[in-house]
Symmetry: D2
Subunit: 392 residues, 4 copies
């Protein structure tokens, strides 16, 4: 159980690119990173494309005014000159900028934590991976929902055979906020997501389904996709070629099958991020808006609901517990769990502790690359008319 006591020798000196006042995502990073002040300290930032607004914002967060920078290049340059300069940076900017900022950060000698989807092409991912290895740095990817310890319970249940052989992986990340097509023009967060120049080759596949795909891989690490088929639509026509709805079918190498539904036009849906793993004996089902429980359905037995923090859960799950039973955790705890693991990974990397790195389960550069691969293959299938493509 976690209680805020330090897991690494000292907090890491941390900076942010993006994540400013006009969006929602930066606060999630800070809630995660600064949870206990024993993993990260926020010391610098280029928070906003508008330098003045960004500086004002940083000051309001308690960052030293002299370390609130107008842009990431200046920040990397200036911080590198300081003895107490930041050693890790989080990138919370629109998709199209990830690659160049990531590269610059690594070249500036920084560890990197980056938003998803990491980049647009697997090749970019491989390049950055090689660069990070060369520089001896960590690249983490903020699949922010994936830190829920209930997912680790699911992983342990799959691993221990509680479900029997896995037959199906049902994935869904849908909401209905994209029904408001006027927001394509007015809402800052929605505007760039439907612009292929910034968002990349996909809208909901990249924005939503990369989360869920990673979570499925976290739960079932041995399941590899053999073929995928994707049919995508732009119900709001002006979004073409970007999809606001996508249906995918998966065939796994071991004979299992799966489905993914990603959508921004599932009207009215408030509970649309769900994972169901079906085995030969039992199924488990998780919804991230009920992150304190897990449905466990054994064929022929009463339906079970497992409750977060209870002693009957696997140790791997309860290791990340903070509040104890009866007390609801939410998305910030998920982010905190991921950021704590980023800190542990960075600390281990700094110390050359390969054993820790080997055993640590967190969304690393490979997870980022797999997310790119997922989107690329889906887009390829969809663009070919919704046909089966080999997953590669």
């Amino acid at each position: 159980m976690l209680n805020g006591e330090r897991k690494i020798e000292r907090p890491l000196r941390w900076g942010m690119v993006g994540g400013g006042r006009t969006g929602n995502v930066g606060y999630k990073h800070r809630l995660g990173a600064l949870r206990d002040n024993t993993a990260f300290q926020l010391l610098a930032g280029a928070f906003d494309i508008d330098p003045a607004r960004g500086k004002d914002f940083g000051i309001n967060l308690g960052v030293d005014p002299s370390r609130c920078y107008p842009d990431y290049k200046t920040m990397f340059q200036e911080e590198a000159k300081r003895k107490d300069g930041v050693e890790v940076v989080s990138i919370a900017t629109p998709n199209a900028t990830h690659y160049e900022i990531c590269k610059a950060a690594l070249n500036a000698g920084l560890h990197v934590i980056c938003e998803k989807p990491l980049f647009f092409e697997v090749g970019q991912g491989e390049e950055i991976k090689a660069l990070a290895e060369e520089k001896g740095k960590i690249v983490g990817v903020t699949y922010g929902f994936s830190g829920s310890q209930v997912l680790l319970q699911m992983r342990s249940m799959v691993k221990n055979g509680d479900l029997g052989q896995i037959h199906m992986i049902e994935l869904q990340y849908t909401h209905g906020f994209g029904c408001d097509f006027k927001a394509d023009q007015t809402n800052e967060g929605q505007k760039w997501r439907v612009n292929p120049k910034i968002s990349g080759p996909s809208f909901v596949l990249g924005d939503l389904s990369t989360h869920t795909y990673y979570m499925s891989q976290l739960i079932c690490p041995d399941m590899k996709i053999k073929q995928v088929l994707c049919d995508r639509q732009s119900f709001v026509k002006s979004r073409k070629p970007l999809e606001d709805n996508a249906y995918c079918l998966m065939r796994y190498e071991n004979g299992a099958v799966g489905r993914m539904w990603a959508s921004a036009v599932n009207a009215g849906c408030m509970n649309g991020h769900r994972i169901r793993i079906v085995g030969s004996k039992a199924s488990i089902e998780f919804s991230d808006n009920q992150p304190n429980e897990l449905l466990y359905e054994v064929q022929g037995k009463p339906i079970q609901k497992l409750i977060r923090a209870m002693p009957y859960l696997y140790d791997e799950c309860n290791a990340d517990e903070r509040l104890g039973a009866l007390h609801a955790e939410g998305l910030p705890e998920s982010w905190a769990n991921i950021y704590l693991k980023f800190a542990i990974a960075i600390d281990a990397k700094n110390r050359g502790d390969k054993e820790t790195l080997k055993n640590l389960v967190y969304p690393d550069i490979n997870a980022g690359i797999e997310g790119i691969r997922w989107v690329q293959n889906c887009v390829k299938s969809a663009n070919a008319g919704g046909i089966w493509v080999d997953f590669k």
Copy 2:
């Protein structure tokens, strides 16, 4: 609101083929047909492939011993000789026998109510339809879940534009009882369903998804499938070529899309028969294990749960209400609603009342044919490797 008062001049003289003691389905027919004794009276039956057992069973239901027949041929023959012979017969036998019994019944001058899937080939359906027209008889199909008045509420909501334009149709009928592969050898009901000679070209597509497909057509009568893609699996290998799991994708003529999941190996699932209709403004979702409520999600508004029998529902829904608010209805009421409409249709047909027939919404021969078409197209797609096929 229904209260058992007669809707037709006198109850119809009714017989059954199949539906005996060894299965579950016959009782559902009787619960539906005999709900109020004002629509049907059970007067004869060839209830069982074992004549003695069938006779004993019929007597125990109160049928005159002399009208408990060893087989359907004898029954049709003998009843035809009586002045008070049955005028309508229900067929609740395994799939492979439907066609011949149906044909024989029509030729014997009987109205027919038949289990789903009606037959194996669309051509058979067309032939029987022509025969029924020639004979001036009704053929009804017992999509037994489709009688819930909540589905009529959904139909009215779609018709009245409460959802905006329909974008997606999400269909699922899954359970996990097929996980028990030993039951393929021992359970009477399961045994024939996995035998292609009796079950036909499919297992779960025919057994499960025909229900759900019909319900979707009931709700959205104007939505026509343009193309379908089906990927099917036999997780229990001995079931090949019959599938115990099937994933389907649909493309509708108006640009909408949809999915169907049919499965007998969704381990532990007790709530797996669900329909969600997604529109441009709102979605509705129904699960047949909660037949007394309807989820209504308008984008940007609080989630609404509509409750059966409440005055705010459409008249088309409350017309089939029996119990009033607070009082749970279940599957028998669904069957009763269907059977009552069969009775009304038969009565209207007998009287030549075309107006009534035109306006009556119930699963008729066309609904049966569409179910066959659905299965045929899915099987065709699946057998071709899970490709898109034109729906015809």
Copy 3:
């Protein structure tokens, strides 16, 4: 499992007093009694206080016009003259008439099935009980929700110690339809219920909580109330002295405690009929709007939901199963279960079969008397200012 086959030699000849077209309750009686045509046959009735309307109604139900009577006295008199006259009568009239009709029916040599609350005073109950014994007749009481087999599962779980020692009994039967105070003037069903001359000394205590109290006794037959305290209110002032809301506390002889909440002004509540039994090890909870499931919460274990019809339930529960797993049952099945037991009791009484009568669990005259006792004690406590009174 029930499938409609006869449980007694021949169906009983049955008549009704009340239960006509203007109310909802009569149809529930008929749905229960006539479920399978192997327990009861509806042959006569004095269905309505308006004789013409009652006759028209009876004819529409298929009753012989000559046996649709203007009032219960005529019916008892005329039917007694027939060789094939009714042998059992159901009374579905407003409360104040139960006693005299019941008495007349027994004196006419009829078995009786009567609505709740049976009468207004325990003394009346004792008198009718003595009369029934003298006449060799059964008096059953239609606690219509109590026939759900899930309650028998609860009874078996309590009996078998699955919950440990019983500590608490939490009872609630509340709805919000009484918020509409204008309906006191206009709605036939509501009008008489708030009139003490017809409804008796209570509104919701008699109308609602007698059901729930009986169900609690069915589940925990060994729990006897030692003291009760009731605080009641008339939120709609014109209803005084009748309460539209009542809170009760119970102290049981074995040290357990309990609560009852009865209300017609629990605004908006659609799921307000609930029973929770708390033991030293586990709790069970039932809601009659989800009659197909039972919550089973063992301290320190995952929450379990038991599903109707599954083989893991006790035999006592599954004995009353009709549809099989996955198929929702509702209130009509509950009524059917009770009516079937009335038929079995009457048949056993007619045959002098004491063994059957001893083992049959159903709401008999004693259950009716206990309901009266419950209301009397609650009213006594409330009228004394909400103090503890000895339950007697």
Copy 4:
């Protein structure tokens, strides 16, 4: 919407008494106080009754070793000598010590944040209130669940008449962890709670129901209790005279009524902290294990579920929003909301800003005193045999 930007000029210098490694509660304080590093900074502590363990713990939280004190007296003394000494202290120790530590803190010139139940006697509360006023300090009480913004939505709905006139207040805070009576000997957190010398005159009334009572007052600030009746039990006999279960009935001055159920022996219950407010037109219901939604039931309308963060909520609710729609918040956000308001109150008090203090809604010393009053009156009623007592 909150995003971590400062609400006061600079973070307050903060220390803790108690809240060390052996319990769960301290982490909740730190999660709340340190959420954004813009309201509080943890600079000193006497975290543990075992000084060495406490020091080690403090160091692990990043506190300067020289400011990890062996006991609160030393801490108050030494910190007072520093120019940068703490200015506010949180007390997270067992009940019996609250009064003396609180007094000492105020006398040392510190603002105070204290665990509930504040003290054992209303007189103590009044004394501390006077002392705080004299010293110009704030005393806040950590009713930790009360920070959920959904409660503010409820408060606004009540205030704006959305429910009509309030008729009933249904309160419940129950769990089943006290079923494990062996933990009375072994579990540190449970051991002292069942010891009247440390826990005070009650177990569950003080430990659980004070939370819920405060939340009800937050929602319905104008509702004053006129009379209360409490019946309490010790199902685990060794806990006598402390109750592990209590039933309370309330009569409010405006004619409304209410109930409270507090229990540590509601076996298996994982969802037992619930509030339902019933009005003449509608009801609202909240459960703290689903803190992201609110049930809104208008009589005669579809059931509504309001979802946290949606624009249709009242501004008073969304003002405390952090994550935005679709993203689950949990108990830490509730604590953070309370602690942020403590900081704002302290800052306003320091600045003499009476306007801010007047409008700020948070659990202050009066809320603490009302909690004591609640327990005192309940215990008085229970000890007199469960009778009505005037609430004073």
